[in-house]
């Protein structure tokens, strides 16, 4: 650019002293939009007739960003070329946009971040957004705030922008939202808990320390995570250091907040003004389209600042008609509210269009009904068709009298009909002509292979429905197997909550707080369970009604103190825990079987623990129990039995202390509780002894344990369990007797004393779930 002009620009722009950089992760790293995204990256899917990426650019431009890196993976070439052609690369756009092609094997945002690090793209604080962001939040103000904070606190590495919304907001991803725990004054994000639709997250766990340290916290389930992050330079490096960070929220944020090693803090910026949301699944695609049409994104609206540069006329009732006069609306056609009709589209007689978006050069045949659907460019819909709650790709042809049920995704170039009938949530894509294999980019191989296999198993029964001259392949309703083991948000069942065509407030995110952990809670649990099971029958309509009976997690703004307490009481995530147990057992199984070294096993466990956030005690429990179970019960007991025990303990005992943090007392009580219920009850004494001999448990510990009221089985409701506990305790007593005889009285006393001293601090950890509640409440009420 000519120096003079740039000078002029300076004057006009009034730039901040340093250039504001942004990084766009232009890849979804998931397959929610398949098959629409088989031949096109998600970030180029149009929403309201402009590619997502353009919306994102515009959003950033709105916020005064001047330099943008676009990290693209799948279909990178396409993205690159589109950017090159777009008006953004014209002079005067005032923004520098650089597409970065990342490696094919970048499979997660985490990898992308690592890539950013290795390339050393960013120089200062930068804005990190996804390639599917639509926003009018004044990010530059957030950046200011962030910079301010950095001045005082170097460890404030990141600021997440979140938007206040009702807990039932249409734009709130139902299957994939999150609970934020925020310090009211500093707005530091203290804890992050992802919330899933399936398995339905029922309880949010908040580490007790948080409440101890922070006088006032907000626990909020009413925030939309805009995934606009203001990151400082460290962030990419952090990813580099922790190879296992995949997802930015679930791994990175969660990791940073929970980890006791890297002392970094993350802050939240609760956007009061402005709008921001991500098109992260077909459902949010729908709701965001609606938000755009109802102008929440102003000035980023079709009639004012349409990213694709089209000009639309805005009519009352938020109807947008392309303004170049190329649209043909038959006189008898009825355009309902919240509609967008693209340039040179033809709408024939008696067509009814309600809250839908029609792309460019489309033809809607006479008498068709388009309801809540999104139709991309150049699609032709024959006469008398019905399309509802679906997304129809570009260049699709739906022949006359076809019916597209709710939640269908029809890939580009598909031809169906006439008289085709698409069931709900059907997914179609175009059969690949052998021709286009050549130009298929290699990175799509996996895609293609998948397609092939799908193509392979097409039943003709379905094909019959799709009408004579159909060129489509139907995607399996059940997700391919490999998706099944995708834990977390990506699991198939959860996906269903992220799908278009579901009534928007599904009860899946319903929460409740178990009052101090009594049976009532279990009742609730089963109740929840039954619910989620009935959801399995995709009955979206019922869902919407049925949700009345569920309490959603209140926002702390509304949360009274007591409620907060109950939250903590609830702090045990049944689901995650059971999963975790299973995994620990598996890994130990392997360890035992393949005879790993104790250290390796320990490492494995550690990572496991990191992955699914569970307190150390859980790990210990599982380990102990696993070891105990490992011990074969030798008939007749006696010496062989003792040897057996000794063998196991000596081999694996050390693991108990290697998993991080030694706490013999807990070990013992765990052992006790375990034995109490297992058929290895008789072995308790011997195991204990073995532990003692293996120096895993000291006498002191045993005394402490013994001193615990809980060890006596106090608070246990009578039953086999209690008896077991009692037995163990007696055994323990006997054991101690023996030991004490070998001890001098004096030091015993002294020990006894400091035992009592220590008890108080340690009790906390040793308490069992059930006894925690009230105790904590006291503590909290002290704080308040």
């Amino acid at each position: 650019m000519a120096p003079k002009s740039s000078a002029g620009k300076e004057k006009l722009l009034g730039d901040e002293d340093e250039v504001l950089q942004a990084v766009i992760l232009a890849d979804s790293f998931n397959k929610r939009f398949r098959p629409l995204t088989t031949r096109k990256p998600r970030c180029l899917l149009p929403i309201c007739n402009a590619p997502l990426l353009d919306w994102t650019f515009e959003s950033l431009a709105l916020a005064g960003v001047q330099e943008i890196f676009v990290i693209c993976r799948s279909h990178a070439e396409q993205v690159k070329s589109t950017i090159a052609e777009s008006r953004w690369s014209k002079p005067g756009s005032g923004i520098k946009i650089m597409p970065i092609m990342t490696a094919k094997e970048t499979f997660s945002p985490g990898d992308a971040m690592r890539d950013i690090y290795t390339r050393g793209l960013v120089t200062g604080d930068f804005v990190l957004v996804m390639g599917d962001l639509v926003s009018n939040v004044k990010i530059n103000e957030v950046v200011k705030a962030h910079k301010e904070r950095r001045k005082t606190n170097k460890d404030a590495i990141m600021t997440m922008v979140v938007k206040e919304s009702g807990s039932r907001h249409r734009t709130r991803p139902t299957g994939n939202s999150s609970v934020f725990v925020i310090d009211s004054e500093t707005s530091e994000c203290l804890h992050y808990e992802p919330v899933m639709g399936y398995p339905p997250t029922k309880v949010a766990g908040i580490p007790r320390e948080i409440l101890a340290e922070h006088p006032e916290v907000e626990i909020r389930n009413d925030l939309i995570d805009c995934s606009i992050d203001i990151c400082s330079v460290e962030v990419p490096s952090l990813f580099q250091d922790n190879f296992d960070y995949l997802d930015i929220r679930r791994d990175f944020v969660h990791g940073v907040l929970t980890s006791d090693l890297l002392m970094k803090n993350i802050y939240c910026y609760v956007a009061k003004e402005g709008y921001a949301a991500r098109v992260q699944d077909t459902k949010s695609y729908q709701s965001i389209s609606k938000d755009i049409l109802s102008r929440w994104t102003f000035p980023l609206v079709p009639d004012n600042n349409h990213p694709a540069g089209d000009v639309y006329e805005h009519r009352r009732g938020n109807k947008y008609i392309a303004k170049d006069g190329s649209v043909v609306l038959a006189r008898t056609s009825r355009i309902g509210n919240n509609c967008l009709i693209g340039p040179s589209t033809q709408v024939s007689e008696d067509v009814q269009i309600t809250s839908s978006v029609i792309g460019r050069n489309c033809v809607i045949g006479s008498g068709s009904i388009i309801d809540n659907s999104y139709i991309f460019d150049g699609t032709i819909i024959g006469a008398g068709c019905v399309v509802e709650h679906s997304i129809v790709g570009a260049g699709v042809e739906i022949r006359e009298n076809s019916r597209v049920g709710k939640g269908c995704l029809v890939g580009d170039g598909v031809v169906i009909g006439p008289e085709a009938v698409l069931e709900r949530f059907e997914k179609l894509s175009k059969k690949r002509e052998t021709g286009d294999d050549g130009e298929q980019e290699d990175e799509e191989e996996d895609v293609d292979s998948e397609e092939e296999e799908i193509e392979a198993n097409q039943e003709d029964s379905i094909k019959a429905q799709l009408g004579s001259d159909c060129n489509a392949i139907v995607w399996p309703r059940e997700a391919p197997d490999e998706d099944e083991d995708e834990e977390g948000v990506e699991n198939y069942k959860n996906q269903r909550f992220l799908r278009l065509g579901l009534a928007f407030s599904t009860p899946s995110t319903s929460f409740f707080f178990c009052a101090t952990g009594d049976d009532a809670s279990d009742l609730e649990f089963t109740d929840e369970g039954s619910l989620s099971s009935d959801e399995d029958s995709d009955s979206s309509d019922e869902d919407s009604d049925s949700d009345a009976n569920f309490t959603t997690l209140p926002t702390s703004s509304a949360t009274s103190l007591t409620l907060e307490n109950s939250t903590i009481v609830a702090a045990s995530d049944a689901v995650a825990e059971s999963e975790f147990r299973a995994e620990v057992e598996q890994s130990l199984e392997r360890a035992f079987a393949e005879g790993h070294s104790v250290d390796n096993a320990a490492v494995e466990l550690k990572t496991l623990r990191m992955a699914s956030n569970v307190p150390l005690s859980r790990v210990r429990e599982s380990v102990v129990s696993a070891i105990v179970e490992k011990i074969q019960i030798v008939e007749g007991g006696g010496v062989p039995q003792r040897q057996e025990i000794a063998k196991v303990i000596n081999r694996w005992g050390p693991l108990i202390d290697k998993i991080g943090g030694v706490d013999a007392v807990e070990t013992v009580s765990i052992l006790q509780t375990h034995c109490a219920t297992s058929e290895r009850l008789p072995l308790f004494a011997q195991i204990l002894v073995a532990l003692y001999q293996a120096d895993i448990v000291e006498e002191v510990d045993m005394r402490r344990w013994h001193a615990l009221p809980s060890s006596k089985g106090a608070g246990e409701e009578p039953g086999p369990r209690r008896d077991g506990m009692k037995k163990c305790w007696d055994v323990g007593a006997a054991l101690l007797e023996q030991l004490s005889q070998q001890e001098s009285d004096s030091d015993e006393d002294s020990e006894g004393d400091d035992d009592d001293g220590d008890d108080d601090e340690e009790e906390e950890d040793e308490e069992e779930e059930l006894r925690r509640g009230p105790r904590r409440i006291e503590q909290l009420s002290i704080i308040k």
Binding site: A61, L62, K138, H169, W296, N304, N318, N337, S505
Partner: protein, 411 residues
């Protein structure tokens, strides 16, 4: 052409302003006017032209680009072939009309300067005379019109092939002055409007005003120097008020009730002020002596766009036959009509200021309407107080003819 670095530079600054207009980062009609002027100044200073038409074309194209930045500013493109006969008919919820107006104004000045400059130097070519022209001579300022049209036809002396820039060289300084004049006008607009405020507001009067208009604000404050009177300010929800223009609107703080800002500033200036909700305008109108409004744009028929709520106030005022006075700088004169005579602006804001985004469940079920402007018919207005005297709505049309050249109405 575009290869020329100068042109490139021009293009860049134009694009820059355009995009900022589109993003509503330029705030307030006056601000927009000023920025436009800045751009035009640079454009002219860089532009290379060897006769006035080339220059005019350059400026027009810039103007068109800027107006296009606000899509609603334009109607269907196929009309433009008739631009010169088309004495303006497009409207527009354009965010800022003052952009187009400024361009027109500059064009007007340039032509005038040109004519004065060419007086004598080129003998005015014999006026061809036809009935059509005879008819159109009905317009004021016919002399220039005639000459200019001819100037356009006969090849100008200036563009001599061997030194094409000579013309530009000679003319540029004058043009710069011309632009400077427009600049000065904008600079002084508030003072000039408020200079005889005291003749409009008398002691003991009760004035009703709406929202936050800088013009009205300064007007009232000026009046307060000489008079003791009371102002009732209606909150005018949810009108935006941009209380800071720093780094060009990038940080724009708006309050949702412009009236509150207004009330604060007036009362702090020692005027006894009452802040009332919009709902009570009618109830209080019976005690109001005068309604003073700001305008967003003054239209060719003497009507205006003003912050939404103005129409209600004006109508209520008529019910009690209370005079309605509009304070506005002449840069708001817009040679356009309100198409469709429809609800005021076709410019609708975002719902958030009406119904909070956090009202999650409602958001999905309810349509929210949040218009920026009202269209107020001339019948409801009594007078315009501008920086060049006071005018009744009926004479706005003539005023327009004098301020702009007809062929510029459609840029």
């Amino acid at each position: 052409m575009a290869s020329d670095p100068q042109m490139l530079a021009n293009q860049r600054i134009v694009e820059d302003l355009a995009s900022r207009l589109r993003r509503r980062q330029v705030v307030g009609s006056r601000q927009a006017a000023l920025e436009t002027l800045l751009v035009l100044r640079q454009v002219v200073s860089r532009a290379r032209f060897s006769n006035v038409d080339q220059l005019v074309d350059v400026i027009r194209s810039v103007g068109r680009r800027l107006v296009d930045a606000q899509p609603k500013g334009r109607a269907h493109s196929f009309l433009y072939e008739y631009a010169d006969f088309n004495h303006g008919s497009f409207i527009t919820g354009t965010s800022e009309h003052s952009v187009g107006n400024t361009v027109r104004k500059v064009l007007h000045h340039i032509r005038e300067e040109y004519h004065t400059a060419t007086e004598g130097s080129t003998p005015a070519p014999a006026p061809t005379f036809s009935i059509a022209k005879f008819v159109s001579q009905g317009q004021p300022r016919k002399q220039q019109t005639v000459q200019k049209n001819d100037a356009a036809k006969v090849p100008l002396k200036e563009n001599d092939p061997d030194d094409p820039d000579s013309f530009a060289r000679t003319l540029k300084p004058v043009l710069m002055e011309a632009i400077q004049d427009v600049f000065d006008e904008l600079e002084t607009v508030y003072d000039n409007i408020s200079k005889n405020a005291k003749d409009h507001i008398h002691s003991d009067e009760i004035i009703l005003t709406l929202g936050k208009s800088k013009t009205v604000e300064s007007f009232l404050k000026a009046a307060a120097h000489h008079r003791n009177y009371t102002v009732i300010v209606a909150e005018t929800a949810p009108s935006f008020v941009f209380s800071s223009f720093h780094d060009h609107g990038l940080t724009r703080h708006f309050t949702r009730y412009g009236g509150r800002e207004m009330a604060k500033s007036l009362s702090s200036a020692g005027i006894s002020t009452f802040l009332v909700p919009d709902s009570s305008i009618y109830a209080l109108m019976s005690r109001v002596n005068k309604v003073i409004l700001g305008a967003h744009a003054i239209l060719a028929n003497g009507g205006m766009f003003a912050t939404s709520g103005a129409l209600l106030a004006a109508t209520a005022a008529r019910a009690y036959s209370t005079p309605v006075v509009v304070c506005a700088g002449q840069f708001k004169l817009t040679p356009l009509w309100n198409l469709y005579h429809e609800y005021g602006a076709l410019d609708f804001g975002d719902p958030s200021s009406v119904l909070g985004f956090e009202e999650g469940d409602l958001v999905d079920k309810v349509d929210v309407v949040n218009p920026y402007y009202d269209y107020v018919q001339p019948e409801l207005l009594d007078a315009f107080i501008t920086n060049y005297g006071d005018h009744p709505p009926s004479s706005i049309y003539r005023l327009l003819k004098e301020t702009y050249d007809d062929e510029d109405n459609e840029l």
